[in-house]
């Protein structure tokens, strides 16, 4: 007989109506991020206001998408070299994290920032000022990277 099974099905769907809903309303409720989240690369600004980058070009070389462009210059600071220009073309960036891995100076880290939108292509080429984030924001990721790499 068919009818009892239909009733059983109806009961199941009726119960489902009162279960919690799984949809996440994305723009309002963002996906929770952790230190493992590999978002867009950012430059960590140290407490003295400078970034640790010495424009060695390792991240530029490691980048498989050729997203990073660095022009170096000399500086009076102890590190002697600093980037004059540090651009990441976010349209090219594939968020692979190789730059973070390649960096010998703990200058670049993958942040938990995932949203990327603009009306022009030029606007998505981030320069140094746009890439700077204070160390305190990036700290969980920095700790995580140190733990994983275990090289310091």
């Amino acid at each position: 007989m068919y009818l009892p099974e239909i009733v059983r099905g109806l009961v199941i769907t009726f119960k489902k109506m009162f279960e919690p809903r799984v949809t996440r309303q994305y723009p309002e409720q963002a996906m929770p991020t952790t230190e493992v989240t590999r978002g867009q690369p950012r430059l960590a600004v140290k407490d003295d206001g400078n970034i640790a980058c010495v424009s060695c070009g390792l991240c530029e070389a490691a980048c498989p998408a050729y997203a990073i462009t660095i022009d170096g210059q000399e500086t009076d600071r102890f590190i002697e070299r600093e980037p004059e220009r540090f651009d990441i073309d976010m349209l090219r960036c594939i968020l692979c994290g190789f730059c973070e891995e390649a960096c010998p100076k703990e200058a670049i880290f993958m942040s938990n920032e995932l949203e990327l939108a603009n009306t022009t292509r030029e606007g998505l080429v981030y320069d140094m000022e746009q890439l700077k984030r204070s160390t305190s924001i990036l700290q969980p990721r920095i700790d995580y990277v140190r733990k994983i790499n275990d090289r310091w």
């Binding site: 239909i6 099905g9 109806l10 769907t13 279960e19 809903r21 799984v22 949809t23």
Partner: protein, 338 residues
Amino acid sequence: MPFLILLIKASLIYGGLLVTAAVMTLAERKISARIQLRIGPNRVGPGGVLQPLADGVKFILKEEITPDGANKGIFRLAPIMAAGPAMLTVAVIPFAGETVIFGLDFGLLSLTDLDIGLLFVLALSGLSVYGVILGGWASNSKYSLLGGLRASAQMVSYELSLIMTALTVVALSGSMDLREIVEVQNTGNPLAWNCFTPVIGQVGLILFVIATFAETNRHPFDFAECEPELVGGFHTEYSSMKFALFFLGEYCAMTVMACLTTVLFLGGYSVPFWEDAPWMVELATFMAKTSFFLFLFIWVRWTLPRFRYDQLMNLGWKVFLPIALANLLLAGAFISLT
């Protein structure tokens, strides 16, 4: 003055019907969302309540496409044929008893009380399938044609059981006047409702509800549309407001059929244990009963998969019709015994 009152009544009832159809489209989406653990439309207005309005505006603004080779006249006529009869049937549904609003006597709350009200509803709702068939035929598309053909075959097989079951109620109540049918059941005792007549009532109710599903082209009998097999079925080639009219017709037909089920089996507007209830209570009771059936329409849609076409035919001719006939016979025996 009587004309004015009739005008007010007509606009209220038809306004109510169209609003119900609009609310149903929203409820359909909301309830399906709940069943599937989703949220559903929630962008237009608080909680998405204005979604039907947005849908309507969208439909009107869409491009109207008439396919090459379509029979233009019939192509245009079909949506009207689908929606018109479905809306007309509401005229004989009794919503409440004696109604007085602000001291204005509206008489019995229904547009008209025909002696053959039930016949009127069945005849007109049977007519609405012409919209589907003509639409399918005029579209000049194989999918539409198949959808229309299926709709016609389905309608013939299920209309029979529907009418047979309705006849059971006619036999029990001794009238075809829908108000008369309600009044027979309206005794203050809910056990007088037709659905509580031993065996006959329950079998009749189940058969009737299933037959209305087929009659209104709803899941699990929506062979006229049948998305996975026939693209969109009879409305494959329709767009814009013509498409919306088909759906308006479908939802109106659903509403009317829910009303009819209430009238025939659940005692219409009769309030349990309160025979001479004021009209507002009666109307509320009627609406509550009707909304249960409307909810059932949606509920079943999101529970059951679609039947296979041969299953539908088997069920209609080899199961429903014999049971409906036996039920009618039983009703005859029951009446002659009591």
